[in-house]
């Protein structure tokens, strides 16, 4: 069998980088250890180049198990871009806290390798390995602040719930395999189409598989770990979990739902739709009451996961389904890109404020506009965008979802749209509360100077510009009709 090494080049580059980082950490001493960060950054840039070169081609390798098409490349670029931003915001944070630096970057890179695999996987086994490669390094990274009991507690929670979700998913996968006789996603779709599609056992196993992804994206019945884990983890790790890991979960969910389980979309569609409603409502209502910014961002990210789940609720099967499903996938991809830009930005500002002082409750952001206009501007833009204000990419992200609903209007679609609008209004309340604190409240005396440093400032500026530019010209990333090629497979 011929292996297409070009197709897996980005993953190979990241793997080599991860191992180099680990070796460099051994060789370097003391303060020099922090230079593993630019090393990891170089590897990421190389991986980005290798990924961009794959755009436009369709490569299939390892049997039919691994497919690199535009859908996968777009996701890979999203992950690698996020990785670059997270590396930049990690540098001083990790160097100052003096964690296990080499190991941290090794684990970070490994986790992203798992994410790169996710949108390309076309086999349940591959999907499971990819999901575990995302999760296992994250378990360790969350617990890295060993001296802090919070960190240990949050790591343990994350680990136990993560393992439970993985076990449930494996159980579901094994039953799907028992039913379909294959782990290949296209093969599963072929096997479960037709009359056999409504068998309760099959539907139960499909639900179990979806649970595993539901945990990853912190959809509502499975969201309990998120706030505690985000607030206990080192902050760059929280940003990684809130953005990249969630996007990876969605990538896997798109692949498994729209390819393998497409014949039963009439069942999981409405179910995920209900989950979307629950997720955004519960996330937003709890976020209203938070006083800690990280916990607020955590619940807001739960709510955002709810918005992204809405297009899944529209999915259907049968004649004419391809148009609806394609629009749904497009909305998911666009929302994820927008979400990554604005949420990484919000975490970057939070890191800049928390660094060296440990201040993280919303009251501590009082008078941020006077202390650091750049950070205040950044926070405002990112939060408004998360809320979906005009002139930011957040508005278009929500618009993309409404557009997907409008493709074929159904009663359920209208209900989902209603919940989306109402929840956006609720979300604005708490986002604006933070913005008001930043601009209107008086800064308490005696606060030390904020020194975000070059990297953090650069990330904040780039993401702020990205949020605004995409807010004015969303067409820059919405035009990817080729991305939804995977629908045809279903």
């Amino acid at each position: 069998m011929q292996i297409d090494f070009i197709a897996i080049l980005p993953e190979i580059i990241l793997t080599v980088t991860a191992l180099l980082v680990l070796a460099a950490d051994l060789a370097l001493r003391g303060d020099a250890k922090q230079f593993v960060n630019p090393l990891a950054g170089l590897g990421t840039v190389a991986a980005i180049i290798a990924t961009v070169a794959l755009w436009g081609s369709e490569r299939v390798t390892f049997g039919t198990m691994y497919v690199v098409d535009d859908f996968a490349v777009l996701f890979k670029l999203l992950f690698l871009g996020t990785l670059l931003a997270i590396l930049a915001i990690s540098w001083r944070y990790i160097a100052e806290h003096r964690f296990f630096q080499g190991e941290y970057y090794f684990l970070l890179l490994t986790s992203f390798i798992g994410m790169l695999l996710m949108p390309s996987s076309r086999d349940l086994i591959m999907l499971f390995i990819a999901l575990e490669t995302v999760s296992v390094p994250a378990f360790v990274m969350v617990g890295m602040r060993k001296r802090d009991l919070y960190s240990s507690e949050s790591a343990l929670k994350f680990f136990l719930l993560g393992v439970l979700a993985a076990a449930l998913m494996l159980f579901g996968m094994s039953m799907v395999y028992g039913f379909a006789g294959t782990t290949d996603l296209v093969g599963i779709a072929a096997a479960i189409s037709g009359e056999t599609a409504s068998v309760p056992l099959l539907l139960g196993s499909v639900m179990l598989v979806l649970v595993g992804f539901g945990f990853k994206i912190s959809a509502v019945p499975f969201h309990f770990w998120a706030p505690d884990t985000y607030s206990g983890a080192p902050m760059p790790v929280a940003a990684m979990l809130a953005v990249a890991s969630k996007a990876a979960g969605f990538a896997g969910l798109v692949v498994v739902a729209f390819i393998a389980f497409e014949p039963v979309a009439d069942v999981w569609g409405p179910m995920l739709g209900v989950l979307a409603v629950l997720t955004m409502t519960v996330g937003n209502l709890i976020a209203l009451q938070q006083r800690d910014l990280i916990r607020l961002l955590a619940y807001s990210s739960v709510a955002q996961a709810g918005y992204i789940l809405i297009p899944f609720g529209l999915a259907r099967t049968g004649p004419g389904a391809a148009v609806v499903n394609a629009a749904a996938i497009e909305a998911v991809v666009f929302y994820l890109i927008a979400y990554a830009v604005m949420n990484v930005g919000a975490f970057a500002v939070a890191i800049a404020v928390e660094r060296r002082t440990g201040l993280r409750s919303i009251a501590d952001y009082a008078g941020l506009s006077g202390r650091s206009p750049l950070l205040a501007m950044g926070m405002t833009v990112f939060l408004l965008s998360l809320g979906g204000a005009p002139l930011t990419v957040g508005l278009w992200a929500k618009f993309a979802i409404l557009e997907a609903i409008a493709v074929d209007i159904t009663l359920f679609g209208i209900v989902l749209a209603g919940f989306l609008v109402v929840n956006s209004v609720i979300a604005f309340f708490y986002y604006l509360k933070v913005v008001r604190t930043v601009w209107m409240d008086e800064a308490p005396a005696g606060l030390p100077q904020l020194q975000p440093g070059f990297n953090l400032s650069a990330v904040v500026v780039v993401l702020m510009v990205g949020t605004l530019v995409l807010g004015v010209l969303p067409g820059l990333v919405t035009d990817f009709s080729s991305v939804i090629s995977i629908v045809a497979a279903g």
């Binding site: 086999d123 056992l201 800690d292 005696g446």
Partner: protein, 266 residues
């Protein structure tokens, strides 16, 4: 289980095989039940060994000799021995005997019974009927789809134990997943080293762990804050909240305790 029994019957029609199936099946289920009900963790681990062994027996009745031997070597052998070593090294006190709330136990039993009932109901219905994809009446093999071959056919004439079959599959279609599991194991090892490492660092790395009490290493800013009369670290993290319907008042936890306490545990 009935499905498996049927498979065993259909496979060979051999009474010894059916007999072995029932022996191993009962052993596997019994040891699994014992595993989760035993209060002594060493006994539970031994039950797990028994469970692995009986599953190896089940593989044998399914004509997967190679898989069965690997199961014994890797799981029942290596992994369980490691488990037992860890348990022995940590020591088992009477305090460690596992206890659970009576209500939790009742709920667990009820939930388990419900799940088992639902699964049995679902299995016995469709999966043994002609509707099942690879049921007894399934058509031989559609050309461009997966085929419902039995293991013996998949293995081929020259490979009665399935070694070549497993090898071929693992190093063609599943190569990538196989290599990735190696990466995953590396991550697990490194993670275990990081999280379990105590004070055994090289001297120059010593402050890498000691200087970090959860807050920044150089305390000037923290001290400045304290002077300014602010709560040094207002961490409204509320780690214990389960975020059921919102935690409006995040508690201020004690600052994470002395680092040594944390470190000495375990």
């Amino acid at each position: 289980m009935m499905l498996l029994a049927q498979a065993a019957e259909a496979g060979a029609g051999n009474t010894a095989e059916v007999l072995l199936f029932w022996v191993f099946a009962v052993l596997a289920l019994g040891s699994a039940l014992a595993l989760i009900t035993m209060r002594n963790i060493v006994h539970a681990a031994l039950m797990l060994v028994l469970n692995f062994l009986s599953i190896a027996g089940l593989y044998l009745t399914l004509e997967s000799a190679f898989l069965s031997i690997i199961q014994v070597l890797v799981y029942a052998g290596a992994i369980m021995v490691l488990f037992l070593f860890v348990i022995m090294l940590l020591g088992v006190d009477n305090d460690d005997l596992l206890t659970s709330e009576p209500t939790a136990r009742v709920l667990a039993v009820a939930g388990g019974a419900l799940l088992a009932g639902a699964l049995l109901f679902a299995f016995v219905g469709p999966a043994t009927s002609p509707a099942s994809v690879c049921g007894p009446d399934a058509p031989a093999a559609a050309p461009d789809q997966f085929d419902c071959r039995g293991l013996a056919e998949a293995y081929g004439e020259d490979d009665p134990s399935g070694v070549a079959f497993v090898g071929r599959t693992m190093f063609t279609r599943y190569t990538y997943a196989f290599e990735l599991s190696a990466l995953l194991l590396t991550v697990a090892t490194i993670g275990a080293v990081i999280l379990a490492r105590r004070q055994d660092l090289a001297p120059e790395d010593e402050d890498e762990v000691d200087g970090v009490p959860g807050a920044p290493a150089d305390g000037d800013d923290a001290a400045a804050l304290a002077r300014a009369g602010l709560p040094a670290t207002e961490r409204a993290e509320g780690g214990e909240h389960h975020a059921e319907v919102g935690d409006p008042e995040p508690e201020d936890h004690e600052p994470s305790g002395s680092p040594d306490d944390h470190e000495r545990r375990g």
